[in-house]
């Protein structure tokens, strides 16, 4: 039975049960601290290890060894004594470390002495003409269906974009008998040169051999077009064709499914709503929280681990989770901390796990034209606002994303900027000849995920409210 938290307060509340959150929970519970792990999905694993405890895809080589590495950690966390609540949506977190969480349509508040955010990553928006048509989806969404339900595309399928996840997904689809007609690789040719200085670290990292093998496996089965510099989806009410330009040529091909992907970025919504300071990352082209080496944020008592701290991948996420949890244990129960793996050992492990990351970040830095759209291309899906609409608002005085809300309501729809925020920042920065850091981001506010009015109305009254009624 899935119910709201058993207690009003915990030593440590971990939000998100991906690699970082599971690793952090393990350490905290091991140290004897009261630990609550809240996770939005039906089972633990996050995105990387989605449905690790329930996937119907049981032949291990289909999803790969990296996927199954999560199973042991999940087992250990379940045996650790931590309270774990799945399908728990954290919708509020503030600087007093009060967590608002919804479970099964009932909301509760818990107080934490330390909070570790492990809310992971989101796919970067890929705003091309026609990206809102039915039949166009993100590669991540396709992978979710693949992992949790074993579903793969069987119609005419095109995958477009770049990045490690794109190749992994392609390989997984092919292994499960799915169909891919063409891969349109949008990696900029000049990125190969720019990434060269980081190549030594990369070829000696675990990414290298795995990445090369994946690309070889996919290329043997699917035609791959490289150097794609323009991309558009079209169709009457649903996707019919994909048009692309590459190497001076242009082609239109028919397609029933277009999967888009150009990397992942930190999921900052809960952290920003808690008032945590973020800065623009010029290499990863996204907002990242300002953290110390233990993952502590600008808000006392809140740490961030995993891809939410800056994209580092699953291996780094596990270690960042351990580091953040160890720091929390040091603060709350110093004697218990002495028995844990030393911080020095963890930091050495993190350096190893992050090896090769700079190469990937440079090589797969998405091209400007795929980040900053023009003309009638939709930027804000919730309000159907185009790039031109935003530039028009800039022309009459909208100076940043928060001012733009007043003109165009961008970022005010149900997605709360997840699908338009980065695009709006970069588009306005370009239009105003400012840096993204100067332009800034939406001020995000709870509820970070919508809750019903009825649910909020049912929140238990405080003592003061009850007494006010009693006194009449």
């Amino acid at each position: 039975m899935n119910t709201t938290p058993k207690r009003d307060g915990y030593d440590i509340v971990v939000i998100g049960a991906g690699p970082a959150g599971l690793a952090a929970t393990m350490i905290a519970a091991e140290a004897g601290l009261s630990t609550l792990l809240l996770d939005e999905n039906a089972g633990p694993g996050g995105q990387v290890w989605r449905a690790i405890a329930s996937t119907p895809v049981t032949e291990r080589d289909r999803l790969g060894a990296d996927y199954w590495a999560g199973a042991d950690l999940v087992q250990a966390v379940r045996a650790s004594g931590a309270e774990i609540i799945q399908r728990a949506t954290v919708w509020s977190l503030d600087r007093h470390l009060e967590v608002g969480v919804s479970v099964g349509g009932v909301s509760a508040f818990v107080k934490a002495r330390r909070v570790i955010l492990a809310t992971g990553a989101l796919e970067r928006p890929f705003p091309i003409p026609g990206w809102t048509l039915p039949g166009v989806m993100t590669a991540g969404a396709a992978q979710t269906m693949l992992k949790s339900s074993g579903l793969v595309p069987d119609g005419r399928t095109v995958i477009a974009g770049q990045g490690p996840l794109l190749w992994l997904l392609a390989a997984q689809i092919l292994r499960l008998g799915g169909r891919i007609d063409r891969i349109l690789d949008t990696t900029e040719r000049r990125n190969y040169l720019a990434a060269l200085p980081h190549a030594f670290a990369f070829v000696t990292s675990p990414y290298f051999a795995k990445g090369l093998a994946l690309m070889k496996e996919v290329r043997a089965n699917v035609p791959v077009v490289t150097g794609v510099s323009e991309l558009a989806a079209a169709g009457d009410g649903r996707l019919a064709t994909v048009t692309y330009a590459a190497g001076g040529g242009r082609e239109t091909i028919s397609a029933q499914l277009l999967l888009l992907h150009q990397g992942v970025v930190p999921n900052v919504n809960l952290a920003m709503a808690a008032g945590i300071e973020h800065r623009w990352d010029d290499l990863q082209l996204c907002w990242s929280p300002v953290l110390d080496r233990d993952g502590s944020t600008s808000v006392e008592g809140i740490a961030i681990a995993g891809d939410g701290a800056g994209i580092g991948g699953a291996g780094a996420a596990v270690i960042r989770g351990r580091i953040a949890a160890r720091a929390a244990v040091e603060a709350l129960a110093p004697t218990a901390a002495a028995k844990l793996t030393s911080m020095a050992t963890l930091r050495t492990g993190l350096v190893q796990a992050e090896r090769g990351r700079a190469f990937l970040d440079t090589l797969f830095r998405p091209a400007r034209q795929f980040r900053i759209p023009a003309g009638d291309t939709i930027v804000c899906r919730c309000e159907e606002i185009t790039a031109k609409d935003i530039l028009d608002a800039v022309a009459i005085g909208a100076t940043g994303p928060n001012q733009l809300k007043a003109y165009r309501r961008t970022g005010m729809g149900p997605c709360q900027g997840r699908l338009c925020g980065l695009t709006v920042t970069e588009l306005m920065a370009q239009a105003r000849s400012k840096s993204p850091q100067e332009i800034g981001y939406y001020r995000l506010r709870a509820p970070v995920k919508p809750i019903t009015l009825a649910e909020l109305a049912a929140v238990p009254k405080t003592e003061a409210d009850v007494q006010a009624v009693v006194r009449g």
Binding site: S92, Q403, Y407, A446, L453, L456, V459
Partner: protein, 380 residues
């Protein structure tokens, strides 16, 4: 470098921007200094109520003056500001509250004000069909309505700048002093000098007044609002309650704004507020009870804007009691948005003509002077 201006306005909220615009219309060239950007705080994120209804008698003349400007707002600022006039309705939840409404309307009528009208149950349900059957009536102010606050404040700023006001955003006004007969204010590397200084700095205005030797009982507050996802259209007027803290407004796009004055914890120096969800839950319960149609709506966002609330919940508007050339325009105590257009016009008249036809005497800062008769009355 020292730059001369006709007036220095500190604060880019609806009040500072309105005063800047009206000064320009009167032929002055003011400089407006805003430490963040125009409309960053309460002026840009309030409920947008354009309300004469249920105001303190002392500010009704100003509210009526302002209403006249709202009704031709597009002519003034070249932007419709999202202003819609579907009336505002105050709902009485029981007979005792309705009696209080009746007495209030009679009091206003005796003073010569006719904008508030007592309504019975059938008229209430005609205006607000979704309201619970148990409510016996209320008061309507039919010319009232609502506007988009951020868009409005921005429109005033934009028009003021177009007419020649200098707008400095992102830099705080510091070292405010009077030297050589002129008010001087440092703004980054620049110093502005003018014979007139308008203190329209919202939550920060109390500090300015105190630093100039004119303290006012004022606290920083942050009233909370929340907005729902789109629901089918069910209500036109803005609704407020007589007995409980609630204001309620559905926008043309279907979203519903829920406010009413429950407070967040402001952190003025960080430009931040921490929401109090248990108080927002009280608002949610009130809506749940009075508007069953709203029960399945989802809350998509809640926020709070920082502003100033005075000891008597009335604004400070007019000439300083201590200094020549200093004018105060702050402390609007959660109900200043509608007053903004009118207050800017009145302030400009005070500065340019030395007086105004609009009755604002009860809003003067000298009511907080120890020798003032009203102060004695309040403390007795």
């Amino acid at each position: 470098m020292t730059k001369l201006a006709d007036a220095i306005i500190v604060g880019g909220g609806i009040h500072g921007c309105s005063t800047a615009l009206h000064m320009c219309l009167a032929g002055m060239k003011p400089v407006l200094i805003e430490k963040d950007y125009a409309g960053r705080h309460a002026s840009g994120v309030n409920a947008g109520g354009v309300r004469q209804l249920a105001r303190h008698v002392a500010e009704i003349p100003l509210s009526i003056r302002s209403m006249g400007i709202w009704e031709r707002i597009e002519e003034l600022v070249d932007d419709a500001c999202g202003f819609e006039s579907h009336g505002q309705v105050l709902v009485a939840e029981n007979d005792a509250e309705l009696d209080a409404c009746r007495a209030r309307v009679a009091e206003l009528n005796a003073l010569g004000f006719t904008h508030e009208e007592l309504i019975d149950g059938p008229e209430l349900r005609r205006l607000v069909p979704a309201v619970a059957e148990s409510c016996p009536g209320g008061v309507v102010s039919r010319r009232d309505g609502a506007a988009n606050p951020a868009r409005t404040t921005t429109a005033f700023r934009r028009k003021a700048a177009a007419l020649g006001a200098t707008v400095c955003e992102g830099v705080a006004a510091t070292n405010i002093r009077k030297e050589g007969g002129l008010w001087r204010v440092d703004v980054g590397a620049d110093t502005y000098a003018a014979s007139v200084l308008v203190n329209a700095a919202g939550a920060w205005a109390g500090r300015i007044a105190a630093a100039l030797g004119e303290p006012v009982p004022v606290e920083t507050v942050a009233p909370m609002l929340m907005i729902t996802s789109r629901v089918p259209h069910f209500i036109d007027p803005v609704v407020i309650l007589r007995g409980r803290k609630l204001s309620f407004k559905q926008f043309a796009n279907g979203t519903v704004l829920i406010g009413g004055g429950h407070l967040a914890t402001p952190d003025q120096d960080q430009n931040e507020t921490v929401l109090d969800w248990r108080s927002l839950a009280v608002s949610a319960r009130t809506v749940f009870e009075l508007f069953p149609v709203m029960r399945s709506a989802t809350i998509v966002r809640a926020w709070a804007g920082i502003e100033a609330k005075t000891g008597d919940d009335l604004p400070v508007l007019g000439l300083s009691a201590c200094h020549s050339g200093l004018y105060h325009q702050f402390g609007f105590s959660l109900h200043g948005f509608q007053l903004g257009p009118g207050a800017g016009a009145v302030m400009t008249e005070l500065i340019v003509n030395g007086g105004t036809q609009t009755r604002i005497g009860d809003l003067s800062i000298d009511r907080f002077q120890p020798s003032h008769p009203s102060t004695k009355m309040r403390t007795s």
